[in-house]
């Protein structure tokens, strides 16, 4: 990246550019304004002088007895000075023509000559050779009593030296503007750099945070307000990241543990079987046991895969209109036998006309996982009741048992992966602890929700809300 590109891409560079750009514009505008004002002032002052003299002459020629000699004196009064004034008085023969020596050509001043007659003064500019003049022309009609006719009064002021003065002024303005420009740029750059220092500190601090220091927080004190907000938000994000990372680590640990146990059993089984020659029956025994462990492993992997896909948004629903009662009846028939064996009464209450748009396989899987869980936690003589009804736009399926209930401290974790209360762990060694997590995920996929009510010793009741209508997915 070239220096220019780096400068343009840097915040300090951009801020400086944006700061200096308008400053330059203002300085330029101001300089031009000043220059124009000076020109205007000069012209205005010259016109004032010309007008005053012309009016004096006008008074003289309009007097009852025109003193012709005095007119001569009047036109030759201002022969000295850098801004010399010239006057011409041209009237009828009794007044005659009087003009200051060196007065520019009459026709040049007024191309139409006396034909251009106006009582009002006309201002103008004339250039004769190297010399520049500001001019005024005035026609004064004489009264009939005084002999009639009219007098042309012309006045010109030599402004040739203004050019030199203005050039000096121009140079001064340009010099000041350039100096201001440089000062602005340099000051702007340093101010911006200085003000952005906390940002550098922040960047350095953030850069020091990695997976092993996720508990570190960025210091917000001493930062400008805007950056403080940023630092606070960043710290909040770090908090979430830390939680997620810890969950991920715990999850990886759990997965490793869950897989390690059956893997270890397989390894031991195979190793022991091969240690010494055994009867065929012993080998068969070992292989069968190994196969059981493999099936267990395979079930864990399938369940984890389902959860992972659902979380990545890869799992898609095959929604179809589905009779809820029929599906629940299938589930009841599936679990009927084992419920009866366990001495638990499995009841189903459902309006036969209840229908919903859902993925039938996943719907069944969700409910089965809950029913299976409830059956496992209900003692002999207890009951598991499955019930479904419409609630506003939702279909609500509740599964209630008369089991030992779930302790309040365990309730928030019931839907976590691999969560098992100690009791469940000891009662059923084959239980993986993914069923409820999968059910929750299935409800999420259906944009529904699941809730749990339970008191220790008074059973547990799961409520599954399936919305009747879905936002179309994929």
């Amino acid at each position: 990246m070239s220096f220019v590109e780096r400068f343009r891409n840097s915040l300090a560079g951009r801020l400086t550019l944006w700061f200096v750009g308008p400053a330059i514009l203002f300085i330029l505008l101001m300089s031009v304004g000043l220059y124009v004002a000076v020109l205007q002032t000069l012209a205005w002052r010259d016109n004032q002088v010309l007008t005053k003299r012309a009016m004096t002459v006008r008074t003289l020629v309009l007097a009852a007895n025109v003193d012709v000699d005095y007119l001569d004196h009047e036109v030759s009064e201002d022969l000295e000075g850098p801004r010399q004034l010239f006057i011409r008085i041209a009237g009828p023969p009794r007044i005659g023509t009087h003009e200051t020596p060196g007065m520019p050509d009459r026709s040049f001043l007024s191309p139409g000559g006396a034909a251009v007659a106006a009582a009002e003064p006309r201002y103008g500019v004339a250039v004769v050779g190297e010399r520049r003049f500001r001019t005024l022309e005035l026609t004064v009609p004489l009264s009939a009593a005084g002999g009639g006719g009219e007098v042309l009064i012309q006045a010109a002021i030599d402004t040739s030296l203004d050019g030199t003065e203005l050039a000096l002024y121009e140079e001064l303005l340009i010099g000041v503007a350039l100096a201001a420009l440089c000062a602005c740029a340099v000051a702007g750059w340093y101010i911006v750099r200085y003000q952005l220092k906390p940002l550098d500190r922040l960047v350095a601090e953030v850069g020091r945070i990695d997976y092993s220091t996720l508990d570190h927080r960025v210091t917000a004190e001493g930062l400008p307000t805007e950056l403080q907000q940023y630092a606070n938000r960043f710290n909040q994000m770090l908090g979430r990241l830390q939680t997620a990372y810890q969950a991920l680590q715990r999850y990886a640990d759990d997965v490793a543990h869950e897989l390690r146990t059956p893997l270890n059993r397989i390894q031991l089984e195979a190793e022991l079987a091969l240690r010494e020659p055994r009867p065929a029956e012993a080998y068969r025994e070992a292989l069968e046991s190994t196969l059981e462990e493999c099936q267990h492993l395979s079930a864990i992997v399938q369940s984890l895969l389902f959860l992972a896909r659902a979380e990545n948004g890869q799992a898609r629903l095959a929604l179809e209109p589905m009779n809820v009662a029929e599906r629940l009846e299938t589930i009841r028939s599936f679990f009927d036998g084992s419920a009866a064996d366990a001495g638990i009464s499995l009841r189903l209450t459902c309006d036969p006309g209840l229908t919903i748009d859902a993925d039938p396989t996943l719907f069944q899987r969700a409910i089965s996982n809950i029913v299976s869980n409830s059956l496992a936690h209900t003692p002999r003589g207890g009951a598991v009741s499955v019930e479904a009804h419409r609630e506003a736009t939702d279909i609500v399926v509740t599964v209630a048992d008369t089991g030992e209930g779930i302790a309040p401290e365990h309730q928030p974790h019931v839907f976590d992966r691999f969560f098992r209360s100690d009791r469940a762990r000891t009662t059923d060694k084959d239980r993986v602890g993914l069923g409820l997590a999968i059910t929750k995920k299935i409800l999420d996929l259906h944009q529904g929700s699941i809730s749990l009510e339970s008191n220790v010793g008074a059973g547990a009741k799961f409520s599954l809300h399936f919305p009747a209508t879905h936002i179309a997915k994929g």
Binding site: Q295, L305, F306, Q314, R316, I331, S333, F334, N369, S372
Partner: protein
């Protein structure tokens, strides 16, 4: 019966060859999608077992190119995807069935037999084994001439076992076929239902027909 196995893992292929060989199939195998498609198009197979993750050309590609020419040869996919995704992709691509890896050999075998039977469209009127007879049309089961009363699910379960007589069916396969059920709890639910069926079909008689194969499932033999 001649099978084509398209699968890139050496050991899996060896084990499948052994398993299919012991069950009376003749097996050809290919290790990548390109060879697999060539073989499937150039020779007549009764069924193709096609892995999804293949070098060269993946299983879905092979399937769609095969189906563009040949609509008849049954194809069973070996997939790492589960049912949800499969339904969206597999059925439209024209596969006949699928088995999710890791799979049990007995399940693959059961599915192959089902697909082959479906293709032949031979549905025997009566399913019979030894002295046990099941009449699907009249919903009747008799053993040694005695009528046996079964619930509808018990009937479906017995019918499934009889259709696959001699084949070991896994609990998951039985749950899926009889109850259209896939769930994540323990699978002793199937065991309980088998026990109830046995109480009616086997217990009163000396010769037991329904057997538990530890680690694999259940079989009528």
């Amino acid at each position: 019966m001649k099978l084509l196995v398209v699968e890139d893992d050496e050991k899996t292929v060896r084990l499948l060859r052994q398993g299919f060989g012991e069950n009376g199939f003749v097996v050809d195998d290919c290790r990548n999608g390109i060879d697999g498609l060539d073989a499937a198009l150039s020779q007549a197979y009764d069924l193709v077992v096609l892995d999804v993750m293949l070098p060269g050309k993946d299983g879905w590609e092979v399937l769609s190119q095969l189906r563009a020419v040949d609509r008849a040869t049954p194809v069973i996919m070996l997939t790492a995807r589960d049912a949800v995704e499969y339904r969206v992709k597999g059925l439209t691509a024209g596969a006949d069935d699928y088995v999710v890896k890791p799979f049990a050999f007995s399940e693959l075998l059961a599915r192959i037999h089902t697909v082959l039977r479906r293709r032949r469209e031979v549905v025997p009127d009566n399913l019979q084994f030894q002295d046990l007879t099941l009449d699907p049309k009249r919903f009747m089961v008799t053993r040694r001439g005695d009528a046996i009363e079964l619930t509808s699910k018990e009937f479906l379960l017995l019918e499934l076992l009889l259709r696959h007589k001699g084949e070991v069916l896994s609990r998951a396969y039985i749950a899926e076929q009889v109850w259209d059920m896939s769930f994540d709890g323990d699978s002793n639910v199937v065991e309980v239902n088998i026990r109830r069926l046995r109480a009616k079909v086997d217990d009163p008689y000396e010769r037991k027909l329904i057997h538990t194969v530890r680690g694999r499932g259940y079989v009528i033999r």
